[in-house]
């Protein structure tokens, strides 16, 4: 039906533009009502007509199939169709009551009976029939005999004069197919309504009323017609305009849009014709209606409006020419428009257009900024409303429009200091018109901007990140930021603290993930200054760090909702970490105690937390704090779901576990691509830190049966590497790390170095860091140090003593460094040796426990647990009285597992665990 309203509005607006006498319609009534109540007689009549048309068409269609079936003697089909026909006929009973039994129906009944009788007589033919058909024939015959008893007179009449009735029907049929011809014919005698209404109104009224009552989308009318429409549609598109339009009307709005395109042209042409014809004849009421429709009910006519741009331009004449346009009128109009908002059949695009037009009128007539602001609010709101589905995202032009609108709105707000806006200003206490008092407008810019921000995220989520389109969309980010900035300045003057907090958070959200190259360059010693004018310009302005600091601190101080503060803290940490301010970031993380209760937060905050932890880990890595890096990344990386945890994509294997609904929700949580953290970088950082920790540890605990893994994932990679039957040169990042680990195991730092830092790895990973060179240097040094440790662990049993000079040469480390590393190992009791100062040698003590001793230790441990278990049995018998085994000692056994538990615990705990001493220390202390 939508199409018809659209056409109606188009043609009508043409008229209204040319018409002089337009009465402003009575205010107060809603549109739909006025539409319905506009003309009773006409309405009823229309209803009958339209329903009749539809019913009759249904019937004729059925009849056609029956006749076809008759021709091919398909009795089963015939029976089926006949039953359907009876049902359909019954349904249209009220119409039939009014109109009388349609002649074509009678004709069919008569023909069918004759035909059946004929078949019945034809014994031979009957014998030939298959069983199904024969059965159907007898049933059908009985049925029709019974059925026809009701129509005896009509049939008799028909039989007397078959010709006439047939003609009648043939008349009817061309009518159906030739819309324009019919319409012209009717145009003449209908007088009251233009032809457009003939088709449009009849359908529109019932449909509209249906929607109004919000009865289930479509009543039987539309469903019944839908059924066969759906079948017919594909082939029938060539049909005349009127038929297709009939069908179109039956469709729900969305379907209408789909089919619109097909019939579009045909409709248009016929409509144009109609429009021309109508012109001379019009009635005031009619125009008014038309106008209302134009205003309200341009449902699904979206395409249409676009197509007919010139028409649209003329349309916005919403007020009669003579009316004095003042605030009250405009507000009223606005309310009228808004009333349709959210209703099912409302055409949202047209509504936006209308609101725009209204804004233009308001501006033209200088109605003051108050009203303009009000209208703008509504425009933006309806722009957001345009997509009924939460998952769908804005189209590019809508988005642009939205941005423009918000910009304009902010312009107005900035220019006019006397406008007060707020959510809590009641509708009736608004002051839109009186300009000497401050304007008071209901609405909240902040919400609008927040929504805009969300829309932006949605657009980015739904764009292919590798396309040019994404880049184009991303360019809008600047504008979004600009708007947020402007809003920020505005709210800083006018808003409440909560609002400021909210807008600050928005600002933070747009800042925290961006690396501040300006500040970076500046910190490197202002080299960029001499380069060019532009650079200089760029380097002006606040550092993002300063901004972040200011905004976050404000939030920490003022925010009362926990969520905003949590987000702000996380973003702050992220920003610190991104700019390698490790200690600030870490302290903030530890002080906030976020790790304790982050699992209670909502998923987006958790994703942010994960992102922050990852960034923190990467930061620690850059700073050379391998342990911290490993610990920070462990949680994310060990699950093997880093992608999911960071909100950077869905895992395929979970497909069975979640349904479509969950998937949608998860998709909505995804972080836009430009904010992603490179997963390969993340994994590489993790694996390299694991390697630097694990390889010396493995070397130190080679014979320890109870040794634990520091990183399961790393071990997994090693195992995968070992399983390879044929080892080629490493290709992927992982293979590189595995190969490097193997080299390191042998204490061969040079090979290890060449595996970790080479062109391939540079391009894959290391070049992604802002301070590549520094990171690489750090890495080389770490590799040297850890290789030295590994070497000492692995080969200490071979040496009686070893000169530090040799070691320093071997690992290209300065002697003091070697000295300090070895000293540390000795202090931690990792290396049983002592330093001989005068000769600069390490003297091995050879007190490593033999494997037998190790075994004995293990046995002792096992026996301990055995005794403990035994004691439990004993407890059960004797009741708990401590037993003979000291409880403290029991604790000692449990403590041994503390290393593992430390890792699982929060980040903070882990830190303490590490600071307590080397792994070895912990393990040995308990024996």
């Amino acid at each position: 039906m939508s199409r018809f309203f659209a056409t109606g509005s188009d043609s009508e607006s043409e008229e209204s533009s040319s018409a002089d006498e337009i009465t402003p319609k009575a205010p107060g009534t809603t549109f739909k009502q006025s539409l319905l109540l506009s003309d009773d007689e006409e309405d009823t009549k229309r209803v009958v007509r339209s329903a009749k048309d539809k019913r009759f068409e249904e019937l004729t269609n059925l009849i056609k199939t029956i006749r076809n079936a008759m021709k091919i003697r398909d009795m089963a089909k015939c029976l089926e169709e006949f039953e359907q026909l009876c049902r359909a006929f019954l349904k249209s009973k009220n119409i039939v009551d009014k109109e009388g039994v349609p002649p074509f129906y009678i004709r069919l009944l008569a023909d069918l009976e004759d035909y059946l009788n004929q078949l019945w007589e034809d014994k031979e033919g009957k014998k030939k029939m298959n069983k199904n058909n024969a059965k159907a024939l007898s049933t059908l015959r009985q049925k029709i005999r019974k059925y026809n008893r009701d129509y005896e007179t009509e049939i008799a009449a028909y039989k007397e004069n078959p010709q006439e009735s047939a003609d009648e029907e043939e008349e009817k049929e061309p009518e159906d197919s030739g819309a324009s011809s019919e319409s012209e014919a009717e145009d003449g005698d209908e007088g009251v309504s233009a032809k457009a209404f003939l088709k449009k109104k009849p359908e529109a009224a019932p449909e509209a009323s249906k929607f109004l009552k919000s009865a289930k989308g479509s009543g039987d009318e539309s469903t019944s017609s839908d059924e066969d429409d759906d079948e017919d549609w594909g082939s029938d598109t060539v049909d005349s305009g009127s038929e297709s339009s009939d069908e179109g009307e039956g469709k729900s709005a969305s379907l209408a849009v789909v089919f619109l395109k097909k019939t579009h042209d045909a409709d248009k042409s016929s409509e144009k014709k109609l429009g021309k014809k109508k012109k001379p004849k019009k009635k005031e009421r009619l125009e008014e209606e038309a106008e209302e429709e134009g205003g309200e009910e341009v449902e699904g006519g979206w395409e249409k409006v676009k197509g007919g741009v010139p028409l649209v331009k003329e349309k916005p004449k919403m007020f009669a020419k003579g009316t004095e346009i003042n605030t009250a009128v405009v507000v009223k109009k606005l309310n009228e428009i808004l009333q349709a908002r959210g209703k099912k059949g409302t055409d949202r695009a047209a509504q936006i257009e209308l609101l725009h037009a209204l804004a233009a009128i308001a501006a033209e007539n200088n109605l003051g900024q108050g009203i303009l602001v009000k209208i703008k609010f509504n425009i933006i709101a309806s722009l957001y409303d345009y997509n009924p589905n939460l998952a769908a995202f804005m189209k590019a032009d809508m988005w642009k429009k939205c941005l423009d609108c918000i910009d304009e709105l902010l312009d107005i707000l900035f220019e006019n200091n006397n406008i007060f806006i707020g959510e809590n200003i009641a509708e009736d206490s608004e002051n839109l018109g009186v300009s000497d008092q401050p304007f008071r407008v209901r609405g909240c810019v902040l919400t609008l901007v927040e929504r805009m921000d969300e829309e932006f995220t949605k657009i980015m989520q739904n764009t292919d990140p590798h396309s040019q389109e994404y880049v184009d969309n991303l360019k809008d980010e600047g504008r979004v930021c600009g708007i947020i900035d402007r809003l920020l300045t505005y709210l800083e003057n006018k808003g409440s603290t909560e609002e400021i907090c909210r807008v600050y958070l928005r600002r933070i959200m747009h800042t925290y993930y961006k690396f501040d190259y300006k500040a970076h360059r500046r910190s490197l010693g202002l080299q960029g200054e001499s380069k060019s004018e532009q650079d200089q310009e760029e380097s002006e302005g606040e550092d993002s760090a300063v901004i972040m600091d200011r905004l976050c601190k404000f939030i920490y101080a003022k925010d009362r909702t926990d969520r905003i503060r949590t987000c702000a803290i996380l973003c702050h940490i992220y920003h610190h970490a991104l700019h390698s301010r490790w200690y600030q970031a870490r302290d903030l993380m530890l002080m906030s105690h976020l790790q304790d209760n982050i699992q209670h937060a909502d998923p987006p905050v958790q994703i942010l937390y994960n992102r922050t932890m990852v960034q923190l880990g990467i930061c620690a890595f850059r700073q050379g704090m391998i342990k911290d890096a490993h610990n920070a990344l462990l949680d994310i990386q060990s699950s093997g779901r880093a992608k999911e945890l960071l909100g950077q994509g869905l895992l395929m294997r979970n497909m069975q576990e979640r349904n479509a609904e969950q998937e949608k929700i998860e998709k909505r949580r995804q972080v836009p691509f430009h904010m992603h953290i490179n997963l390969e970088l993340l994994e590489c950082v993790y694996l390299v830190s694991a390697m630097l920790l694990e390889i010396p540890y493995m070397a130190a605990h080679e014979f320890d049966a109870r040794r634990r893994m520091i990183s399961k994932q790393f071990h997994h990679q090693l195992r995968v590497g070992e399983r390879q039957p044929l080892l080629g040169p490493p290709e992927s990042m992982r293979e590189h790390v595995v190969a490097a680990s193997k080299a390191m195991k042998m204490g061969d730092w040079r090979t290890c170095h060449s595996f970790i830092i080479n062109e391939k790895m540079n391009s894959k990973v290391w070049d992604l860091f802002p301070e590549t060179q520094r990171v690489r240097e750090m890495l080389v040094r770490k590799i040297q140090e850890e290789s030295l440790r590994t070497y000492l662990f692995t080969y200490s049993s071979v040496y009686d003593s070893i000169s530090m000079e040799t070691l320093s040469e071997m690992f290209e480390l300065e002697i003091p460094t070697v000295h300090s590393i070895i000293s540390k190992m000795i202090i931690n009791e990792e290396l049983m040796a002592s330093l001989d100062q005068p000769t600069q040698t390490v003297v091995m003590h050879r007190t490593e426990p033999t494997s037998l001793q190790n075994m004995a230790l293990q046995l002792a441990e096992k026996l301990g647990s055995l005794v403990e278990n035994n004691e439990r049995v004993f407890d059960l018998k004797q009741g708990v009285y401590g037993g003979y085994f000291n409880r403290d000692q029991k604790g000692g056994y449990q403590q041994k597992q503390s290393y593992q538990r430390d890792q699982k615990g929060s980040y903070q705990q882990k830190q303490q665990g590490y600071q307590r001493g080397g792994y070895r220390n912990q393990n040995q202390g308990n024996y």
Binding site: T850, M855, L866, N869, L876
Partner: protein
């Protein structure tokens, strides 16, 4: 088994009171045969087994001959061991060798022989032939220079339990059996015929000093490590068993409590009913309502304990010997 029984009865008809064997005379030829059997067929942790033949004289058992069970592989599954034994014994009888079945022998790997399989087969032997023994040969210790042969029998107590097949905790408790009382060792005396003694004397004169001094070998860690490893495994098993038992007894006591509560409630109710003059509630089958949990068989635990004990003895013996050797070595070094 029937056959064996008959054999036994027919030959040792006069010795009903053989329950307590005091001594076991082992002929050296049996020892050599066993060693040879192991060296030919057994390696590593694989175990060889065979049949001991001999006769009972007064309160001592004389084992005069033996023959191995053939190593049979998977493919000849239809190999009939009993048939083979009968054949062997018949053949031996033909050449006038003692053909009475008096037990069986088995090699062992680091002293691990206390197992369910051994228990079962020894039980069936002892059940059929009262005085039968199992001879355990430890090739590893033997290789180190000291022949290790031990003869074991099941104690009468254990025989009782096995007969009743009652391995529940209560059953074992009632029998009051610990791992110490499962097996009794029978002292072995190796006996040579005079002819062999003469030969040995002659050989001793002829031969130079033995080249090999395995007995004095000092490197001990390998043996100890193996023993420890095995010991550790058994300790693990033991731990598991204890945990299992623990769970069982906890469940049991919990259920007992429930049962008790239920009974009390029922009693109260009945008392009330009686006071009101109503008939008491019918007694339901309480055991049906509270099915006691399946008690874990404790025999395995017992065996493991026995095995652990065995390992410990082994290690103890070994270490004390080694300590002695070490002291000797020290003294030697000091002397030099």
């Amino acid at each position: 088994k029937e056959q064996r029984k008959e054999n036994h009865k027919s030959v040792a008809g006069g010795m009903k009171n053989t329950a307590a064997l005091i001594l076991l005379f082992l002929f050296s030829q049996v020892v050599l045969k066993i060693i040879k059997h192991y060296q030919e067929e057994g390696q590593g942790s694989e175990v060889v087994q065979g049949v001991l033949l001999g006769l009972v004289v007064d309160d001592r058992l004389e084992i005069t001959n033996c023959f191995p069970f053939p190593q049979h592989t998977e493919d000849d599954a239809d190999f009939d061991e009993v048939q083979y034994q009968m054949e062997m014994m018949r053949s031996l009888r033909h050449v006038n060798i003692d053909h009475l079945h008096v037990g069986w022998y088995q090699s062992t790997y680091y002293g691990s022989f206390v197992s369910r399989a051994l228990l079962d087969s020894q039980f069936s032997y002892q059940h059929a032939i009262e005085e039968s023994v199992v001879l355990i040969y430890d090739p590893i210790k033997t290789a180190q220079g000291s022949l290790s042969l031990k003869a074991y029998r099941l104690t009468p107590k254990l025989m009782e339990i096995c007969k009743e097949k009652d391995f529940t905790p209560e059953g074992l408790k009632k029998a009051n059996i610990g791992f110490e009382h499962m097996f009794e060792e029978v002292p072995i005396v190796i006996k040579n015929s005079h002819l062999i003694n003469v030969l040995l004397w002659e050989l001793e004169d002829k031969s130079t000093v033995a080249d090999k001094h395995e007995l004095l070998n000092l490197s001990s860690s390998n043996h100890l490590e193996k023993s420890l490893q095995l010991l550790m495994d058994r300790v693990d098993d033991m731990s598991q068993d204890i945990v299992k038992y623990n769970t069982y007894s906890r469940n049991l006591s919990k259920q007992q409590q429930q049962k008790h509560q239920y009974l009390q409630r029922r009693q109260q109710e009945n008392a009330q009913r009686q006071s009101r003059g109503e008939p008491p509630l019918p007694e339901e089958d309480i055991n049906k309502m509270f099915k006691p949990p399946q008690p874990p068989p404790r025999m395995d635990t017992l065996l493991i304990a026995g095995q652990i004990n065995n390992y410990c003895q082994n290690v103890k013996e070994f270490t004390s010997q080694n300590l002695g050797k070490l002291f000797m070595a020290e003294a030697l070094q000091g002397h030099n």
